[in-house]
């Protein structure tokens, strides 16, 4: 389709891109290298090789509790985001209500609105209402930040889907629900699934909402790691971080397989 890079442009662009990729991977590689060091201090070069920090992390009840809590929270938030976001995406892509452009802007506003301030505002609301049950408060906050991603990817997938197939199915007598299930859904499924996975990770990784709404008994993983970073160094932190990196890369591989990464991101 597009022109390939050739000549002088290629000589300039490939080395810069390679350097950028090195920059992107460096901090992750460093964390992974430290996680197998036998030294109990953050010193370079790492010494020896051990997997004992991993054994320690996987036996740590605090880490396991956080892992379970974050997974459940992200799953619930993603489900909530799908319930709110998929109908909204249909409204935007298929029904064009008056002021659709305004609605799109409003729906995507949590993307540019500073997440930290969203957290502060929610904290104020919940303390006004005396809502002190952290899991529900966190759930609401996480639905707020994940919904825009669902809306964006599902809308993009719907706009790519062939509407004449839907019209044909209706003409042939299929009902609304059947058209959705048998014609629309199979077309948008890969893109929507990849977007859903991304929304899951947005919740799983979130810190700036959780920092306001979590309590001592419900600590999402990023908060646990942040607290450990702030206190003394132990190689348990790189080990836990490496597990998160591996998990994240596995999810991205699935997203790539499902829909291609740029489509999954809808950016």
């Amino acid at each position: 389709m597009s022109q390939r890079l050739t000549g002088g442009m290629a000589w300039l662009l490939y080395p810069v891109t390679a350097a950028a990729m090195l920059f992107v991977l460096a901090p992750l590689a460093v964390v992974m290298a430290m996680s197998v060091s036998t030294s109990a201090f953050a010193t370079f070069p790492p010494r020896g090789f051990t997997l004992s920090w991993y054994a320690g992390v996987l036996a740590d009840p605090d880490f396991l509790a956080s892992l379970w809590f974050s997974t459940a929270l992200a799953a619930a938030a993603t489900a909530g985001a799908l319930l709110l976001g998929v109908p909204a995406a249909f409204a935007l892509a298929r029904h064009a209500p008056p002021g659709a452009q305004g609605l799109r802007l409003v729906l995507l506003s949590p993307l540019i609105f500073p997440v930290l301030v969203v957290g502060v505002a929610l904290l104020r609301l919940f303390s006004d209402w005396n809502w002190s049950y952290a899991p529900v408060n966190l759930f609401i906050g996480h639905v707020l930040v994940t919904t825009p991603y669902v809306v964006r990817t599902v809308t993009a997938s719907l706009l790519l889907a062939d509407t004449t197939l839907e019209d044909a199915a209706r003409t042939l007598g299929a009902g609304r629900w059947r058209v959705f299930r048998r014609v629309t859904l199979p077309q948008i499924a890969p893109g929507a699934a990849a977007g859903t996975l991304f929304a899951f990770m947005v919740s799983f990784d979130n810190y700036p909402i959780s920092m306001w709404l979590a309590d001592a008994r419900n600590v999402p993983v990023p908060m646990l790691i942040y607290r450990q970073i702030a206190s003394v160094f132990t190689p348990a932190v790189p080990a836990a971080s490496t597990l998160l990196i591996v998990f994240a890369f596995a999810v991205v591989l699935i997203m790539e397989r499902l829909a291609g990464l740029r489509r999954a991101m809808a950016l």
């Binding site: 389709m1 597009s2 890079l5 442009m9 490939y14 891109t17 950028a20 990729m21 920059f23 992107v24 991977l25 460096a26 901090p27 992750l28 460093v30 964390v31 201090f41 953050a42 070069p45 709110l84 109908p87 249909f90 029904h95 609605l103 729906l107 506003s109 949590p110 540019i112 609105f113 500073p114 930290l116 969203v118 502060v120 505002a121 609301l125 906050g141 639905v143 707020l144 019209d167 209706r170 003409t171 009902g175 990770m201 799983f204 990784d205 810190y207 700036p208 920092m211 990023p222 790691i225 942040y226 790189p238 998160l244 994240a248 890369f249 991205v252 990464l261 740029r262 991101m265 950016l267």
Partner: protein, 309 residues
Amino acid sequence: MTATTADATTFRPPRTGSIQRPSARVLMGLALGLPVAVFLAAFLFVPAFSLTIDGFLTQDQQGHLRAPVTLAHYAHFFGTALYSHVLFVTLRVSLLTALFAAVLGYPVALVMVRSHPAAARAVAFITIAPLVVSVVVRTYGWQLILANGPTGLLNWVLLSAGLIDTPLRLLYSETAVVIGSLHVFLPMMVLPLASALAKIDPHLEEAASTLGMPAWRVFTRVTLPLSLTGLAAGFTLVFSLTAGSFVTPAILGGTNAQTLGVLIDQQITAVYDWPFGATIATVLVVIVVGVNLLSMRLLGEGRRFGMAA
């Protein structure tokens, strides 16, 4: 449309008369969009509005907010050298991060859309995958790299190579915050740029080079102007996200490079000055929304200009 009519009549013959069809479609759209609109109103817009109001109220001894309405918190914020400095640092860090992201992200975006498919996929994967790793973990990696003293990775490398004699003091500085933010938000520059570049009609560039333009002029006269929308979108995203971030400046900036996000946390969780925290949050939102409105306006102008030309 005909299919919709047939379908609607089968299920609800008496109510949906043929005159009401188009509005039924619109009503359906409104009904689908309503839940999310209500949710956003209740949990984002109303609380954000209340927070703004709090910045104009007075906090009494028991911590309750009440009248009199006052501009004292804004006067305090803009009148204290320490706080204006934090505002200035936030703007400078965000601007530098967005600039570096554009410079570093442009070649990456070009390679992503124009190289061999396998290379393009690898670049897309490496660019996007870290986006899904928690900011806490990524910032932690930078803390290890930039650590002050001879055992930080960068210092160790530079000392071993004989490039420096005494370890650099990089951690807890604005430089460290810019490096960390650049890493965290680079994909937000690359992705909009890549989609803008992918939309450029290759024939335009072919025509320019066939007519004898050297490659660098094809780039400055054709490719770059046509990718400005992506560049502006990426710039706005990176600037807004950096200005509103917390984790990266908190871990890498320390007390030397405080930003508005860190200050909000400090005022609310350590000082317990809720109205002042609300004031800083409002200033942050005004900056971010202002930059976005400006960018949308510029992009709108650009589009109109493009259509006229």
